[in-house]
C-alpha cells in the first residue's frame, strides 16, 4: 500500500493518520532524502515509510511514530525509529529493540596529541587490533561462570569494573550509570547465558568498530568545553552491543510475544511487530529480560574500554587521569522515561531502534558535568567519513521524546555494496586518505564501505535544521579496527 506524506516543516514530514493508525507518522528528512524514501517505498520490497506507518498502529503509542534522519528499512520498526508508549495502555515490541539489545557507542577522550598518534599509527593500530577481541567466534579475556553471568546481567558495567576493567569514574558517563534496574536473570534462558560465557569483552563484527579519531572541527564551544573536546584532540569510540546474549533474548522472546499478540488481541500490521501489553506477565517478563541484555551491553563496552585504556597506557605511558570516558549511549533500547506531553507529564516506555537518547540541558539523567549544556549524542559515521558529537535540545525533548540519530544510516544493501566494492580496494583507498583499517574480514570491509552509507553530514544537518539536536564537534577517523 502506497504511503502518503505531507511536508509540515523544512525538515519534517508527516504520514497523516489513516486506517488503523492511532497517531501520525513523523519523519525527519530534507527534500532529497524524502524523494529517495518515496522512490524506495514504490520500488522496493522493504519499505521504511510503511514501517513508520505500521508502528503508528500499535496500541498505546503516544504523540507520533517517528523516524530520525538516518531512517532506512529495518524489520518491523524502521532503523532510526522512535516509539513512546503509555505505561498503562501501551505495548512493548521486540522490533522496537531488535536483537542487538543496547548496541551503542562509548567515546573516550585520550590526552595524547594527534601528532603522536600519526607518528605511531601502525603501532597503535596493531596494539588495538591485538588487544580487543573482534570477529566471528572471537572470545573475550574474561571467562565467566553461569553464576557470574547472572551478576553481569544485574550489575552491568560495575561487575567488570570490579574485575579491573576501567575506572570508577567511567560509570558516571554511561547511561543509567552502567546498570539499569529491573533486570531479571531468571527470565533469560540458560542458552542465552551459555552463548555469552566467553563473549563479554568482544567487539563482534559487521558494523561494529573501534575507532581512533581526532576532533576536526568544533561547532559549539560551550558544549565542547563541557565535554572536554579540544581542536585536534584524540577520541576513541567503541561501537558494539550485547553480543550473543542479546541475540538469544530476542530470539527466545519472539515466540513469547507472538503468542501474547494473539492472546491480547493486539492488531499487528506486520508479523515482526509482535507485542505484549506493558503490564501483562509476558510484557513485564520481556522488559526484565531486555534490561538484563542492556546490562550485558554495558558490561561489554566497559570491558572493551578497559582494554583500550590499558593499550593506550602501554603505548604512550599515560596514567588513568589522562583517559576519560566522554559518554556512552545506546541506540537499540527500551527506556522508562518521564516526558511532558500535551496531556501533561507522563511516564512512557520509549523504544529507540537505531536512534539514541538525546536529552536537553537540565535533565537529571544528564551527568552533572554536562547538565548545563545537555547530553552528548554520539553519532557514528563510516570507516572513511566523519563521526559527530551532538547535544540534545529542548525542542528535541518536546518533539522526539529527546531522541536523535545514531549514525549515517545505510543507503545501499550489503548485497549491492558487495557488487560495487572490493574489500581490498576500500582498505587501500582509505589508507590513501590516511585512515588505517585493520579487519579480519575483507567482505566486511566491502559491506561497510563508506559509499554504502548516507552522507552523515547531511543527516546531522537535517537534525540540526529541525532543531532536534545541535552539532558540537566533527571527528575524523585515523584508525579503524573492525571484526
Amino acid at each position: 500500500m502506497k504511503v502518503e506524506v505531507e511536508k509540515i516543516g523544512e525538515f519534517l514530514w508527516e504520514i497523516p493518520r489513516s486506517g488503523r493508525m492511532l497517531v501520525p507518522g513523523r519523519i525527519y528528512a530534507d527534500d532529497e532524502s524524502m524523494r529517495f524514501l518515496l522512490k524506495e517505498s514504490r520500488t522496493k520490497q522493504w519499505d521504511a515509510l510503511a514501517q513508520v506507518r505500521n508502528v503508528a498502529c500499535l496500541p498505546g503509542i503516544v504523540g507520533a511514530s517517528m523516524a530520525m534522519a538516518d531512517i532506512h528499512p529495518g524489520y518491523g520498526f524502521p532503523i532510526g525509529g522512535v516509539g513512546a508508549f503509555d505505561t498503562g495502555e501501551g505495548v512493548v515490541s521486540i522490533a522496537g529493540v531488535g536483537f542487538d539489545i543496547n548496541c551503542g557507542v562509548r567515546s573516550m577522550v585520550i590526552d595524547v596529541t594527534k601528532e603522536r598518534i600519526e607518528l605511531n599509527s601502525e603501532r597503535v593500530a596493531e596494539e588495538l587490533f591485538n588487544s580487543v577481541p573482534a570477529g566471528i567466534g572471537s572470545t573475550g579475556t574474561l571467562r565467566l561462570s553461569v553464576r557470574e553471568i547472572d551478576r553481569v546481567l544485574v550489575e552491568g558495567a560495575s561487575f567488570v569494573l570490579e574485575r579491573g576493567y576501567g575506572v570508577e569514574e567511567d560509570l558516571e558517563y554511561i547511561e543509567e550509570g552502567g546498570t539499569v534496574a529491573g533486570a531479571d536473570p531468571s527470565v533469560v534462558s540458560p542458552r542465552a547465558k551459555e552463548r555469552q560465557l566467553k563473549q563479554v569483552g568482544t567487539l563482534g563484527s559487521g558494523n561494529h568498530y573501534l575507532e581512533v579519531q581526532y576532533v576536526e572541527e568544533i561547532f559549539d564551544e560551550e558544549a565542547a568545553s563541557a565535554f572536554g573536546l579540544l581542536p585536534g584532540g584524540i577520541v576513541v569510540s567503541i561501537h558494539t552491543g550485547s553480543r550473543a546474549l542479546g541475540h538469544q533474548i530476542g530470539t527466545d522472546y519472539q515466540s513469547v510475544l507472538r503468542k501474547a499478540s494473539v492472546k491480547y488481541g493486539i492488531p499487528v500490521a506486520e508479523s515482526e511487530l509482535m507485542a505484549a501489553p506493558i503490564n501483562s506477565p509476558e510484557g513485564k517478563q520481556y522488559i526484565a529480560a531486555v534490561r538484563a541484555g542492556i546490562n550485558c551491553a554495558f558490561a561489554n563496552r566497559q570491558a572493551i574500554s578497559g582494554l583500550v585504556r590499558d593499550a593506550f597506557k602501554r603505548l604512550f605511558r599515560l596514567d588513568d587521569g589522562q583517559i576519560r570516558t566522554l559518554y556512552e549511549v545506546g541506540h537499540n533500547n527500551l527506556k522508562l522515561e518521564t516526558h511532558d506531553t500535551d496531556e501533561g507529564r507522563r511516564n512512557l516506555l520509549v523504544h529507540r531502534k537505531g536512534a539514541t537518547r538525546a536529552f536537553a540541558a537540565g535533565r537529571d539523567e544528564v551527568p552533572v558535568r554536562y547538565r548545563r549544556v545537555g547530553q552528548p549524542v554520539l553519532v557514528g559515521g563510516t570507516m572513511g567519513t566523519s563521526s559527530f558529537i551532538l547535544v540534545g535540545t529542548e525542542l528535541g525533548m518536546a518533539e522526539t521524546f529527546g531522541s536523535a540519530v545514531h549514525g549515517a544510516g545505510r543507503m545501499k544493501s550489503r548485497k549491492k555494496a558487495l557488487k560495487e566494492y572490493r574489500g581490498e580496494d576500500v582498505i587501500r583507498d582509505l589508507a590513501g586518505s590516511g585512515i588505517i583499517v585493520r579487519t579480519r574480514s575483507r567482505k566486511g570491509a566491502a559491506e561497510e564501505a563508506p559509499g554504502a552509507y548516507k552522507d552523515v553530514e547531511r543527516v546531522v544537518a537535517i537534525m540540526e535544521g529541525a532543531g532536534i539536536s545541535r552539532r558540537v564537534a566533527r571527528l575524523r577517523p585515523m584508525i579503524c579496527i573492525k571484526g
Binding site: W46, P73, I79, E194, M411, S441
Partner: protein
Amino acid sequence: MTGRGHETLEHTADMGLRGWGGSPAEAFEETALAMFELMVDRIGAAAETDHRLSIGGRDLTGLLIEFLNELLSLADIEDMAFVSVSIERLEGGGEDWELDAVIGGIPRGKCRKRLLSEVKAATWYGASVERDSDGRWVAGCVVDM
C-alpha cells in the same frame, strides 16, 4: 525458479532469504543454505562433524524461524561453521509441525579464512512458507545482520 534452490534478497540494513523446493523440507534446507552462505564460504568445504537437531510444536512458518534460529545458536555454542543440512523428517499440520535435521559443520578454528559475516537472528519480518502457483514450496524471511 528451478526445481530447488535459494537466493538472498536485497534489504538495506539486513538480508532477505528465500529457499524453494518440491517439499517444505527442501524449501527449509535451501533457506538454511542461503543463511549459511552469508556466514561461510561453502564452496569446496566438506563437513567434518554432524549435529542432530529436533524441534516442533509450531506452525510451519514458526518452525522455519525456530529452525534458522536454532542453527544460529548451535553454531555459536559449538563454535562451528555450518556448511550442509539434511532434513530427515518434516511433518505435522496446523499449529503442530516438527522436524529432525542433520547439520554438517567445520570447527570455526579450522576454517577462519572461510568465515564471512555474523547473522544475529532470523526474524518474522517477511516470513512465510507457502506453495507458489507452480506447486513449489517457497520459504523465506529477513535475517538481522
